[in-house]
Symmetry: D3
């Protein structure tokens, strides 16, 4: 169930807050990845299908620096295999005491056309990564090499990230509030609904800025707002 371009385009224009509400309506309460933040403010939302990397706690004898000489090392392999347009999501067990990755790997992801990268741990070279043209989300900067605490063990399996469930192929959306996970089979309908919701929220924001009370307006329980909204949509062509 590939992410189609129309849905991708819609999701770029909606917020994780709006998506969270759309998911909440359907009974989803834990799809927001807790406690991650973008390395620099984003102008539009990051969107892509999840490609996952699972870390487990590092055992000392299996995590000497030499392991990276192995081209099949899962961390390096994942960086080369993550599809363009996908978002790499790392399960670092919410432990930012060692890095999940650094600027060279994230640069490689950017060059390969990957849509973004998320860890519930931390990145090293955080300032450099913030300067790259690829959205990146983490918990806090962390200089120690991942080998110190994290062993990459599985590529593209279901994982947890920031207490959210992430299945490969789920649609990941990130903005300045953080990152949310849309179950793959709901991406199209959620994108559509969130687009509609966003239109109404933008209308509401304008009305509130103009002095209108939220009562009756947000949510719309006073039907007299309906023609005003209709007119606004017509004017805004939304």
């Amino acid at each position: 169930m590939a992410l189609n371009q129309e849905t991708r385009d819609k999701l770029r224009q909606v917020s994780t807050a709006t998506l969270a509400t759309a998911l909440y309506k359907r009974g989803f309460r834990t799809q927001f990845i807790q406690d991650v933040t973008p390395l620099r403010p984003l102008a539009e939302s990051m969107v892509g299908e999840a490609f996952t990397l699972r870390y487990m706690p590092a055992r000392e004898d299996l995590n000497r620096l030499e392991v990276f000489r192995d081209r099949a090392h899962p961390q390096r392999k994942a960086v080369e295999e993550c599809p363009p347009g996908a978002v790499m999501v790392m399960d670092s067990r919410k432990d930012p005491r060692a890095a999940s990755a650094g600027s060279i790997l994230v640069t490689r992801l950017q060059v390969r056309g990957v849509a973004g990268v998320v860890t519930d741990g931390g990145f090293r070279d955080a300032l450099e990564i913030g300067g790259l043209n690829i959205p990146a989300f983490h918990s806090r900067p962390s200089a120690p090499t991942n080998l110190t605490l994290h062993q990459a063990i599985d590529i593209n399996v279901p994982i947890g990230c920031g207490d959210a469930p992430v299945f490969p192929g789920d649609v990941i959306v990130g903005d300045n509030d953080g990152v949310i996970v849309i179950p793959a089979h709901l991406a199209d309908e959620i994108a559509e609904e969130a687009t509609e919701m966003t239109a109404y929220e933008d209308f509401v924001t304008e009305r509130v800025q103009g002095g209108q009370s939220i009562l009756g307006l947000y949510p719309m329980t006073d039907e007299s707002n309906q023609p005003l909204f209709k007119e606004w949509r017509a004017k805004k062509r939304r």
Copy 2:
């Protein structure tokens, strides 16, 4: 015991650090709201009387999206009733896993002339809120709707916020270090004392920048600093 304009004006010009010390002298150790930060840097301190909102953990059957259709819902009611010039302080039980509020409600607060808003949880639409002309403080951004974890239950009762006690009418001051709670009956004298302390601290800062040691100066145990300070005040008209 309303906050008078003179005290409000003084408090805008002093820091939470200075206020914390003035409170400490009187035996208050827990008036600083722990672990909240402004959504954008502030040029002058936020000041206002506390108007509180208490959240309790959300029970699923009582927190469907439809609840907001009720105009008496405490969260929405609080937003419409918080007095201009007051600071809305939310007890979110230090849990930022779901939002305490979002940009539409905070916009409404701004339009209504509310002086600021504080939660020990998180706001959604944090970037947008940071762009509004109202100081806002939280723990971290959080996209999920408050219904996910928080049920608004009481308006303007005594609460805890970031481990600080907050009584309705207490005077709330916030700056780039965070937010502090001044017991209502002490606001005038604390404002006066902090203003005096700030004058001396500014004098000290200039002296230290000029190369003077802190010994004897901060605090002033060497009385030879007294005439210098007096002269400085005269020159600065403070």
Copy 3:
């Protein structure tokens, strides 16, 4: 074992991430000070020998405001005695609920030529400190006076800071990822090795930006990269 100027200069040009890896090679896994962040982004790395201050929990009767009238109070004494070029490192027991220091003391450190200041607690007047010409690292801003929770008790003894061991004279390096502690006897060799590593990493970054895969390049297992790197170094004079 004083920090020589050549080593100091080298360390200014390398990242804590690279240093962490060089230390990891030698079996050091806990030298990174966890969960501290600079008060403003740094253009080059902070470098200096550790001069330490140990705080213990404050007992109320020993921490009235009057204690600062004593010129021998360890916090004030430390500020006046920390050598120029050193980095003051404070063991605040990872507790940012009260300040480790404020802008006046840090200004004094700056004027005295101290190279930087680090606490695993928090600073008050954080915005002002961020504006000073001295790197400062903490966990989060904190307005309450240190007396509220912290009693300065020892100067220049071995301490823990952010779970890292710090001995007086260890070489402290800080950048935008955080702060790392180099055991004094290893400073020269680590600085040299990190300089070499940085040259290679910069070469790799350029190659990756140009489209080369990390496989065989990072680390260099494909020897065909060797002459390219040699040529790059010659061109860059590194």
Copy 4:
């Protein structure tokens, strides 16, 4: 909607685990009070309607020892007013650093016929309380007087306890796993359903002890278990 005796009797014979599952079926996920434990092992479940006490953070000037001389102090008042057969549930903001109550108050509750007492903080005199004939649940022992950190502020309002929502009149059940909150309007049907579930679980336990696989049995997807269960119930008169 008073708790009737039949429901009370049924609930004494079922576990919080079984109740949690019955609630889960109806969409309740957060009714278990997290991280509280009985002060001594219980032979049968504690059952009673919730009577609540809300603590807020203590402000020093309002919490001198003398406050207990006031007969209207909410903590003391609550102890005298909690109805026989009810369970007193205290919102201590999950903070066991100071006591929620001690053995004298809990003795008074026992003598008054109160069915149990729960705090998400800690009790002082924990060994003595464990020896009383009233079930008590807390997070960990805590010697400091509640005044140190907790100010009793409200009696019988909706509260949070261990991240669970508790409304006055909800039915509280506690056993060796901890404490669960049954919404008042569901108590009868949950008690009935849990009694049925317990019968089946006891049957399953016997079968598993006798060597039967859980597959097909737990849950019963192999209908051949139905007559065996029927026979077992007849024999056990359940």
Copy 5:
């Protein structure tokens, strides 16, 4: 590399403390599963090869009660497939807010001859499990069904448990201090060395009980203790 009977027998007689030291000598620092405790005191150590179960965060639509009707559900499948003599180790992401399993499943494990069960979350029916004839370790009791927060996703893959790395086939040893993970290839030599260490520690304990100083004795730097130890071993036939 199966666990042979001789090694199993040796490991039953040594403590996790002694094993931790033997592993520390070989550079292993993170093999102790943090923050788990046996549900009742053990008379001899639990020993077995690791058979693992990985949980991820539960997504609501995939974790309705009906999922257990599927005989291939990984949790139920794991319980039926865990080999006799093995220890089932569950990665519950250190989250005890919902159960990892309950007494029926653990009874089934006992009947099937499984050597023990460990989770870094919590068990429901903890008192009942403590009464079974199978060692069980967890963080704290937890009544909610695992479906509330945990979805069983993988059987017998490498996992983390309490921050320790666990590979299928590693040798798991548990006693009253907790649980430790011996890398499979080291089990025989560690068992042998720990047996020798235990003999010396028991000798030391006797000597210390008799009044001897630990200096020179523990560790043995005073060679005059050698013949005493030799004699003791002869007498004790160890």
Copy 6:
């Protein structure tokens, strides 16, 4: 200011709860060592003067097993030098992930007549230590050798333990609620006052068990209780 025998005897008969209140009256709020528990229930309170050991984070190259061959190693030295009748208090930085000590060292302390041992980390061989005739308090059992995370660095300096300030010579009292620190200069008066308070509390407990309300009795605001108490004391010879 040595602890005299009379004070020691009194303190053995009072609870940490009562002592906490006596200290609270004098403005002390942080003398209770947070989150430590005795390894087995105590029949009478542990009492002794504090003899401290400070741990810092372990640096790998300084903490090989061989370090214990040095008779001057601070941990071993402290065990041999702690005076009989004193309580050894260890600052383990609230980190129980590695042991603060094990059964051999604690046995040595017992044999040497030390009055007790406290760590805000964990002990290994916890069951064995619980069986010794010396009170021991910790956070939780921990098998890994202290070298894994803790380096003993200072003997008998002021420390923090469980967030409480501990000065050498302070009087340490422990019971089943935990451990409290009495500033040395207050030990006699606190012991005397707590003894009086205990008499009244025991009287109150009897009265409450007999059915009297706490109002007017606890605290005594109804003077009619005075003669009853006087009579009770006479009868009990207290």
